[in-house]
Symmetry: C2
Subunit: 423 residues, 2 copies
Amino acid sequence: MSEFLPVKGTRDFPSEYAILRERVISILKECFQIFGYDPIITPIVENFELYKGKSGEEIEKKLIWRFKLPYSDREYALRPELTPSLVRFYSRFRPKLPFKRYEIGRVYRYDDPQKGRYREFWQADFDVIGGKSPEADAEVLNLVIFALKRLGFKNFVLRVNSRILLREIFENFFGIEKEKVLKVYREIDKLDKLGKQKVLENLAGILEKEKAEKIVRLFDYNFDEIKEKFDEEKIGKEIRNLEDIFDLVEDKDKIRFDLSLVRGLDYYTGFVFEAWLEGFNRSVAGGGRYDNLIELFTGKKTLCVGGCLGIAPLIDVGLEKGIFNLNRKTYAEIAVVYVREEFLKDAFSLANLLRENNFKVYLDLGKNNFQEQMMRAREKGIEYAIIVGEKEKKERKYTLQNLKTKERAMYSLEEILEMLEEK
Amino acid sequence: MSEFLPVKGTRDFPSEYAILRERVISILKECFQIFGYDPIITPIVENFELYKGKSGEEIEKKLIWRFKLPYSDREYALRPELTPSLVRFYSRFRPKLPFKRYEIGRVYRYDDPQKGRYREFWQADFDVIGGKSPEADAEVLNLVIFALKRLGFKNFVLRVNSRILLREIFENFFGIEKEKVLKVYREIDKLDKLGKQKVLENLAGILEKEKAEKIVRLFDYNFDEIKEKFDEEKIGKEIRNLEDIFDLVEDKDKIRFDLSLVRGLDYYTGFVFEAWLEGFNRSVAGGGRYDNLIELFTGKKTLCVGGCLGIAPLIDVGLEKGIFNLNRKTYAEIAVVYVREEFLKDAFSLANLLRENNFKVYLDLGKNNFQEQMMRAREKGIEYAIIVGEKEKKERKYTLQNLKTKERAMYSLEEILEMLEEK
């Protein structure tokens, strides 16, 4: 059967999965709109050079779907994330600032497929270009919390940090050279995956062992302890900025300062965050501020902050925790069922009449027999069947059956329309 | 500026375009659901071999985005249409028949970009697997007519034909060999593009000139004339089937028999159709029956019929004809505007409170001044502004301004919520 499988790391979604995904995506869209973000659409295929020297080594060297076609020498890429296309879009159209946009779509990474990690997956991205800290950063956190709650999640936490704070501690108190900071970030980012001991070893390859140990120990401190431990003057400005961000977050119990959080993309410049659901060992959302990225395109420094929710982890965990289910297998509300093939033509007209009245109507076009039609309608979870047979045709009345309660009675078409409209 | 352009043949959609596209797609989804079709989702990246020897020479040799990655020897393709993925999906999961599904998504062809023709574009596809003729064929026509009307189109026609009828005429009355029929179809398919004279020349390269001329002359006949002209016995069965299809179509004035219609894909076996809008020289929808395609995968003959609407031509023509417009630039209903920066924090809280009540609220996070905030809100077409300033803060009342009528007055928060909810 393997010949019918999709490409490794990509997936087919049968209707019950597709219906759930549509619901999740429509909730996320509504949340973005409630926060005043509007959609844009960008291509999935971009020129490979859009990603060169921006997102980071790993994505660029190992993870990008990059290729040439037989017809051209140009190197294309399937977008590994949505931010670079946004930055290109902004540079092209220069909309007035602040510009708040969302985009929900497929992205591609040539990662090793494993549980919850795919080569084709969906991201729900939102960003403010031209939004200042602390307000825009706080809005990003508020929006993620709002969206997770709207989806039905209760037990989650947003880990929050600032790369400015971390860099200032590294430079002012540990004497780490500017050139090494990005390398140190990349190692710290592996903490969740590799654990403290392994990261310590890796850091000791970049820094003196003693410094590496001190850094790792720092990550046990909470916000107040960090504030206390370091000289206020040197890191005070960013500490105050973080306090202002926290102050503007509505659900303060949902955020937790975490000095070890750096995020995997090279372009983050300050505030960063990740959302973690209880009992799931990967983040379901993340983002941060990247004030230097647009400058690489336009030459002009432009404030940017945003976040991104992963549709696959949200659905995977939601299903596991019973927040979502796959019970809805169809959008159809009514099955028009014919007793024998000779009544198919009448059933066909009746179905069309109901459709003109906006009902979602399934009609079997494979000429299955009556029992099979009824069984199929029940299996799909359709609520009502309207039966067309001899008696119905003669009396110009139809049997309406509630497929859940099994109640049935005969009504005129007008009565049926009236009853269904009231539901 | 060309460095900021998307890949040739692909497009960026600013918010007003994205909002219109979302509306069109949501109408189409609703139409599919009303007809009892449910969504599935399949990958954009497929193995290239899925397309080998199925859709036709031109797609396979010249139009497919096919490629290898630096990491693997496998040849991938970006799907050029949605039907092959559906057939693979069906072969994998074998859902019970009839199986009615829709999928709306991006497809890719390495075509020469020109007005209305793109390398990345969107198709809205729906199919019945296991649906018999004439009922399933008629439902496909009814659904396309229903959808075009729901979108707001009035002047259109569906050209309908049957490849069985055409083949039977070719074989029985013109003595054309079976092996040549597909070649003849390919030339006939170019009629709209090349015109009669050129197609006649091309046909004369395959057939005796006299036969070629007879074929082209056939296309002037209407349904009744074809019926009369040819011996009923030999083509009678398919003639009757077409009559049955026409009989089941609700809007008979929207369909027109056209013996010259063959469609460009090799896999069609019988009924084919195309939808044409008045004053637009390309079809906006098309489809047909392909009863042999699944057999190539599963070894078992399985009835299939479906249709496909092109989102780009629908939107392009709709805009040209004034059926659609780009007036809606934002989903936001309310702009919360602060008089001076010191009131931003109050505006921030008010915005969040309105959002908790499901209003779509834009808040300027770039700290533009009051005049600029008001101007931006008006430019975007936001209906209401709620102004936060000194007086508002002191009296715990806010100024609500209708940005269209310019009416303004001060209200308590409760009054505002009540008023807005009634709108």
